[in-house]
């Protein structure tokens, strides 16, 4: 089997805060396969955006410490200096951010944004050719009147159009890895549907892999072949979407799915997970989900479960996975 595009090993991220050291990512092990689309699901504070930022080399702040390995095609990204990282960003790894309102420079036209990406990635491309490619990219992401839109400025565009421009920029870079961090969260429902359908169409045309990050399990399930569930800075479950949707192995995944409001007419109270997400500063003994878990036993409070193999490329970090149903 071909080696994964990205291999993340024992990735730790911590940051000094006024209250002590906050552990944001705890010993993450994760592979991103070539040509695949991997969804990362987690709630606020689960570390999903921090993981994305770590991969693309955006520091979480001056006081943060990052250790472990992020290996992209044999190169450990954490060993690269800033210029090495910069050469990679926007060419081999590209990112579509959550907030399309702030990710574009208001003083640059759409054409300038797109052409800059092309000139940086492919310096030999002529100006006229670059404009042609920019035009084609706008068409590919479904922008009406692309010729007219090239001359527009971000302020002239709606949120949905800005997100399309960001996706066009990411595509022009022809990255090996495209990271989309909550790309539809800031958009309206009908525009979200458009962007999701766009991403799903582009999936077939991209040669690289996509890392799709969302708090919305349903959306991830629709778009991604594999799902990684994060909680409190750890990976708690990993596997094929269909398998996880059919039978979640981790109590957290299970609870999260139960919390999703279904379409049944019912007067029964809605499900929720009692308690709060873990405080990244507080020390953790045992399983990080134990304080909120309905299936907790004595062992869970003592020993932190490791991510273990369940076969069929399924992994789960729970002592009791398999015995609870």
């Amino acid at each position: 089997m071909e080696k994964p595009l990205v291999q993340i090993r024992n990735l730790e991220l911590s940051a000094a805060t006024g209250r002590g050291e906050a552990r944001i990512l705890r010993s993450i092990d994760l592979d991103i396969e070539r040509g695949s689309i991997l969804g990362i699901v987690g709630e606020s504070g689960s570390g999903k955006s921090s993981l994305a930022n770590a991969i693309i080399g955006l520091p979480a702040g001056n006081t943060s410490k990052l250790s472990g390995e992020i290996v992209l095609d044999g190169v450990n990204l954490l060993s690269l200096d800033e210029s090495g990282m910069r050469a990679l960003r926007g060419s081999r790894v590209a990112m579509v951010f959550q907030d399309p309102m702030t990710a574009l420079n208001p003083l640059f036209s759409v054409e300038r944004h797109l052409v800059d990406v092309i000139k940086r990635r492919f310096p030999a491309v002529s100006r006229a050719d670059a404009t042609g490619r920019a035009l084609a990219a706008l068409e590919a992401v479904g922008i009406a009147d692309p010729g007219l839109r090239l001359a527009s400025y971000p302020g002239d565009l709606s949120g949905g159009m800005r997100q399309r421009v960001l996706i066009a920029m990411a595509l022009l870079a022809e990255p090996d890895l495209l990271i989309a961090d909550e790309p539809t969260t800031a958009l309206d429902a009908t525009i979200e549907a458009q962007i999701v359908s766009l991403l799903s169409d582009l999936k077939a045309r991209l040669s690289g892999s996509i890392l799709f990050i969302s708090h919305h399990l349903g959306l991830v399930a629709r778009l991604c072949e594999r799902i990684c569930v994060m909680y409190g800075g750890t990976v708690v479950e990993l596997g094929d979407t269909a398998a996880i949707a059919a039978a979640p192995a981790h109590p957290y995944t299970r609870a999260l799915m139960a919390c999703m409001i279904d379409d049944q007419v019912s007067d029964a109270p809605l499900m929720f997970i009692p308690g709060e997400v873990p405080d990244p500063v507080a020390p953790v003994q045992g399983c990080i989900f134990a304080p909120r878990c309905a299936h907790v036993v004595e062992q869970c409070l003592r020993v932190a479960p490791q991510l273990r193999d369940l076969g069929a490329s399924r992994k789960v970090a729970c002592h009791r996975a398999g015995e609870i149903a």
Binding site: H216, G218, P269, G275
Partner: protein, 313 residues
């Protein structure tokens, strides 16, 4: 008793026509959902209901009296009875006051009995799973989810009769939103409150409300019982919007109806039916002849010449 009544309400501010010809009535004790995209006029409608703005035309009454009348004669009583839960919970809490003072302020302004109200507040916070230590914190020291819940506590502390909730679960993780919605429903039943709830999360609307209004570009395009509307939307816009909901369930194969383009500008709305530029089933008549909100035999109102012409699997 009619809690809320709008008849031909418009809100034109300068060139922007935020609301046009909005009419509906809500009986006391109803739970009504309001859905639509940004720019459809939902938030403007909320502001009108709580008296933060006055309509530029039409009639807007709360408890059978015009809102302007309430504001002139018994503004404080009106504001106590009609509470708004704002969309941005963190920004709605003053950063320089501890949570205790923020809540005390409500008691002072409305001259509420302090002991009794604090007992009620503590009941609410406990039922929302907030620790008592939260009272001593400043807004920046609490999480977004806690701020969201405190904004709700503050609104319910007054025991209002109408609650207008603008995205009460926005930004909340799915793991905690259920608890909050349960409480909102319980309190509504206990006090027989009237709720008008905006949410972009259609599942929340379906589960919490009994009736819903679908808005598009400043107008109500459909008004009906929530469950009936979800099962069989009459307006093509409702059908497209609700189809995005069906398609998001994991393991379900439903395909959303993808609308092309975006919501047009409220400064210069399209002639004829305002939705015709994006409507997959628009006909010639729709381009010139604006439909009015009309009653269908199945207890539903719809603003469309050709209702039920678009359906989803």
């Amino acid at each position: 008793m009619t809690a809320i009544l709008l008849d031909g309400v418009s809100a034109h501010y300068g060139a922007v026509k935020s609301l046009d010809d909005v009419s509906f009535a809500v009986e006391q004790g109803g739970r009504v959902g309001l859905v639509g995209e940004s720019g459809s006029g939902k938030s403007t409608l909320c502001r009108l209901l709580v008296g933060l703005r006055l309509p530029s035309g039409g009639e807007l009454s709360v408890f059978d009296r015009p809102v302007a009348d309430h504001l002139r004669t018994d503004a404080r009583q009106f504001r106590r009875n009609v509470q708004l839960i704002m969309q941005d919970a963190v920004a709605s809490l003053s950063p320089r006051m501890r949570i205790r003072s923020l809540l005390q302020e409500v008691i002072t302004i409305h001259s509420l009995p302090a002991d009794e109200t604090w007992r009620w507040i503590e009941t609410l916070t406990a039922r929302l799973g907030l620790p008592n230590s939260v009272f001593e914190r400043y807004p920046h020291e609490i999480s977004g989810g806690q701020a969201r819940r405190l904004a709700i506590v503050r609104a319910l502390a007054l025991k209002p009769r109408i609650v207008v909730a603008d995205e009460p679960t926005a930004g909340l993780d799915v793991s905690v939103q259920g608890g909050l919605l349960n409480l909102l429903i319980e309190i509504q039943r206990e006090l027989s409150l009237t709720y008008l709830m905006i949410s972009h999360d259609l599942r929340v609307i379906r589960r919490v409300t009994g009736r819903m209004l679908v808005m598009y570009l400043g107008q109500i395009v459909e008004d009906g019982e929530t469950e009936a509307l979800f099962r069989k939307p009459a307006h093509p816009y409702s059908a497209a919007l609700l189809s995005t909901n069906a398609a998001h369930a994991p393991g379900k194969a439903g395909q959303p109806i993808i609308l092309h383009g975006e919501i047009p500008s409220a400064i210069n709305p399209p002639p004829g039916c305002r939705f015709h530029t994006r409507c997959p089933v628009a006909q010639t008549r729709c381009k010139t002849d604006p439909p009015s909100l009309r009653r269908l035999p199945d207890n539903r109102s719809v603003r469309c010449h050709f209702p039920y012409s678009l359906s989803f699997a």
